[in-house]
Structure formats: structure tokens, C-alpha cells
Symmetry: C2
Subunit: 159 residues, 2 copies
Amino acid sequence: MAESVSTERFLQIGEAAERASLTQRTLRYYEEKGLLSPPTRMDGGFRLYSPEDMERIDRIRQLKELLGFSLAEIKEMMEAEDIRLQIKAGWRKDADADEKADKVRLGREATLQQLALIDQKMEKMASLRAELAERVRKYDELLLRFAELPESEAATSQS
Amino acid sequence: MAESVSTERFLQIGEAAERASLTQRTLRYYEEKGLLSPPTRMDGGFRLYSPEDMERIDRIRQLKELLGFSLAEIKEMMEAEDIRLQIKAGWRKDADADEKADKVRLGREATLQQLALIDQKMEKMASLRAELAERVRKYDELLLRFAELPESEAATSQS
DNA sequence: AACAACGTTAACGCGCACGTCAATGTTTGT
DNA sequence: ACAAACATTGACGTGCGCGTTAACGTTGTT
């Protein structure tokens, strides 16, 4: 009844996949590609995903779907996540304060990098958005002119 | 010296590709897939891209790189662009005012759809951004505590 | 002990979005 | 008239991100 890995909150691949809205194949694939560190296993060899694993999986999904990064790119970017999860998991007792501070600084830097990327992308999106909004304005303008001159030739427009 | 298609502002595939930061293969591929309507040709068969074609190509690039849509999705979305370019190119004289207004309405609707998609994506990005910013805040907090307690065990943090 | 439900690895397959020849034709400068 | 630069249409190749199938082992329930 009691497993070695404190069964609470650990999911095996079926539920993990479902909760993450991914397939089992995808989770195994991410592991193959080194995006996910090999999860703990049950005695029989079944994968057990920790809550931290689940967080990480979610982050991967966001980076991929939202920002459209390739798995290779994401692997690079996950440096920040790695450090954060290490910190959350509690410090190694063999590390002294200076070492810890260095890690935190690294995590901070990597996160700032990601923020910069996001800001860049949001800027471009905002400008695309503005362009489209302006376009709608022009459509509305045209429609108004149709409404005003019901039966005449409503100006063959240019710009 | 003078070509049939008023050579001004028309680019052949080499320059077109370079200006769009795409390859010639990609332009031909987009044409194959119906994302680009067959451009005009020189007498020898060389493709000539109009400024409108170039606009369209740029829009495709934006939708793909910025928003991460597949070419199939983009093809659907380009309905709006098609209508807009038809309008810019001047109305067909065989269409009456009602028909024109309908077209404009269609273009408007399609553009609004795209706006909605962008807004959706921007919202999600903003929330990811907030999450990362908060994370940086926590890093800074941690670093402050390291600075305050120079040599003691600086709290094995939890959340 | 049996059986369904769930998991494992390994291997092949597939659609997308092009890359990369190869063989050939066109345009342009001299 | 000829070469160098540029283009054309196939056709096959490629990397990514998984899907799918096969053969087999584990877990939980009855």
C-alpha cells in the first residue's frame, strides 16, 4: 500500500499527460530530448511525475504554444527553470552561502533574458495589432460612405 | 528596354526573397500551397512580384513567425488580406455598390477575427510575463537576505 | 490466479515546411 | 555571339515533433 516514493501528489504518465493536455508519447519524447529530466520510477519501472515535473511540463507547453519556440530553443531557455526548481527543492547542504547567491543570480539573469524575449515579441504583436485596428477603422470609414451615398458610385478609393 | 508589365516596382524572385528575408524556394512553395496567387510573369516566364504581392508576403511572415500559425491556418486567415488587396487594386466595375459593401463587411469581420486571436495571445503572454517578473522579484528578495545575513544559514526557502 | 487497465521500450511512419540538387531556359552586358 | 547571372520546373532529401503499432511487463481488483 505504501510506495517508496511517497505516492502523494505524484502522477503516472497517463494522468500527467491528461492534466498537461499532452500525449504520453510527447512526455516521453521530451524526456528523450533532454527537456525533462528522467522522472522517478515505481519499482516496476512506471514513471512518476512530481509536482515540480508538472510545473516544468507546463512551462514547456507555454513556451512552445504561446511563444512558438522550438524544443531545442526551449531546452536552452529552461536553464532558469532548472535553477528555480533546484531552489524550491531545498538547497544542497554542501553548498555555502556564496555558492547559493551565485545560483540565485544566475536564475535571475536567465529569467530576465526570457522577459526580454517576451517583451520583444509583445512589441511586434502590438504593432501588428495596431495595423489591423487601423485597417478596421478604414473599413468602417468606407462603410459610412456607402451609407451616405446610397445609390451613386461610391468613390473608387486609393490608399 | 521596356517590358509589358511596367517594370517599375516589380521584383523578380531573387530580390523579392531577399527583401522579405525568405528563400526563393519558400516563395515558390507558398505559391504552390495557394498562399500566394500566381504572380505576373515576364515574357520568358520569370516571376514578377508586385508591391501588393510583397505586402502579402510580409503579412504571411508575420502571421507565421510572430503568431506561430501553420501555413494552412494562414491560408484561411488571408481571406481578409485578399479582400483588402482587391479593394486597394480598385473595384471591379462590374460590381454594384451593395456587392462592394458586402465585401468590405467581410474584410472587416475577418480582420476583427484576427484581432481577437492576437488579443487572446497577448493576454496569455502578459500573464506569463507577470509570472516571470514576480519570479525576478523573489530572486531579488532572496539576494537581499543573503546580503543582510552574510555568514549564517540563509533560510532554506519554501514557496 | 486471472484479467483488465495501465505502463514499458523499440522501431517505423508521417505531415509540414522547406533544402538541395539537376537539367534546362532566359536576360543582360560586352 | 557568347558568357555570366539569374530564373524555371521537377524530384528527391531532411529535420522536427510527434503518431502508431508491436511485443511485452506491471498493478490493482475480484
